[in-house]
C-alpha cells in the first residue's frame, strides 16, 4: 500500500477529531476527540517511520501515547471536579477562564 493512503486515513482521523472538538458540547466527547487527534498524528508517525525504516518514529508514537494517557487522567479529574453535581454536561456553560459575570 502506498504510504499516502495511510496518511490520508491519518488526516481524516485528525480532522474528524478537530471537527468533533468544535461542534460537540459534551466534555467527555471532547476529551475523546482530543484522543482521536492524537491517534491521527500517531498513525502519521508510524507510517512515515515505516517508509524511512526509522525506529525513532515508534518512540515518538510511544511518547504520544504516554502523554495522552497522562492527559486523559488529568482531564478526567478536572471534568469530575467541574461537572460533579451538575445535571447538564455542557462546556458552553463553563467559562471559568473568561471574564466574570
Amino acid at each position: 500500500m502506498p504510504l499516502a493512503a495511510y496518511l490520508l486515513v491519518s488526516l481524516v482521523l485528525f480532522v474528524l477529531g478537530g471537527l468533533g472538538l468544535m461542534i460537540r458540547r459534551n466534555p467527555l466527547v471532547l476529551l475523546m476527540c482530543v484522543e482521536l487527534m492524537w491517534n491521527g498524528a500517531n498513525l502519521a508517525f508510524v507510517a512515515l517511520g515505516r517508509g524511512l525504516e526509522a525506529m525513532s518514529a515508534h518512540v515518538f508514537a510511544f511518547v504520544v501515547i504516554t502523554v495522552a494517557a497522562a492527559e486523559v487522567a488529568i482531564g478526567l479529574a478536572i471534568l469530575v471536579l467541574v461537572f460533579r453535581g451538575k445535571a447538564r454536561q455542557d462546556v458552553d456553560e463553563v467559562n471559568l477562564l473568561g471574564e466574570r459575570g
Binding site: 500500500m1 499516502a4 496518511l7 468544535m22 491517534n39 515508534h58 495522552a68 478526567l76 469530575v80 456553560e93
Partner: protein, 176 residues
C-alpha cells in the same frame, strides 16, 4: 496487507465518526474502542507490532476503562441530553469552515508523500529494537515520560482528593 489496511482504516474512520456523532457518551466510548482496534490493525500492517500491542493494552484497555468509569460517574443520574440552545452562535459554520480549511491544507501534504508500506521483514518494529531505541537514543525522553506520568498521578490525586468544602470554596473563587 491490503486486507489489514482496508479493515483497519474502515474500523478507525467508522469509530471516529461514531465518536463525533454519537448522542450518548457511552456510544462514543464504544466508537473510540473501535477506532483504537482499527488503528492497532493499521500498526500491524506497518510492521509496528509493539505499538499495536501497546495501543490495545493502554488505550483500548486502560484509558477507555477510565473513560467508562467517568461516564458512569457523571451521567448516572443525568437526564437524557435535553440541551438548550448553545450560547455560542455561529459555532457550526465556523467549525465546518475550519475543518475544510484544515483538510485542504493538509491534503496536498499527504498525497505527495512517496514510498510504500513494505511487507514484513527483519526485526523492525519488534520489542527488542524498540527497547534498544528507547533506552539508548531516547533515554532522556524516557526519563521525561516517567516524570510526566508521576506529575499526572500526583496532580490527579491533588485535584480529586481534596475535601469537598475546600473544592467548592476554590470554585467560588473562580467566579463561575
Amino acid at each position: 496487507m491490503v486486507l489489514f489496511f482496508l479493515l483497519g482504516s474502515l474500523m478507525a474512520v467508522a469509530g471516529a465518526s461514531g465518536v463525533v456523532v454519537a448522542r450518548k457518551p457511552v456510544h462514543g466510548v464504544i466508537g473510540m474502542i473501535l477506532n483504537f482496534l482499527g488503528l492497532a490493525l493499521l500498526y500491524v500492517s506497518l510492521q509496528a507490532e509493539f505499538l499495536a500491542v501497546v495501543q490495545i493494552i493502554v488505550y483500548a484497555g486502560a484509558v477507555m476503562v477510565l473513560f467508562l468509569f467517568v461516564v458512569a460517574l457523571l451521567t448516572a443520574h443525568a437526564k437524557p441530553p435535553a440541551m438548550g440552545p448553545s450560547p455560542l452562535r455561529g459555532q457550526g459554520w465556523r467549525a465546518g469552515l475550519v475543518a475544510v480549511l484544515l483538510l485542504t491544507a493538509l491534503l496536498p501534504v499527504g498525497v505527495v508523500v512517496p514510498g510504500r508500506a513494505e511487507p514484513w521483514e527483519g526485526d523492525f518494529g519488534g520489542v527488542v529494537r524498540f527497547g534498544q531505541e528507547l533506552l539508548t537514543t531516547h533515554l532522556l525522553a524516557f526519563e521525561a515520560l516517567a516524570l510526566v506520568l508521576m506529575v499526572a498521578v500526583i496532580g490527579v490525586v491533588i485535584l480529586v482528593g481534596r475535601p469537598p468544602q475546600r473544592r467548592r470554596g476554590a470554585r467560588g473563587e473562580g467566579g463561575s
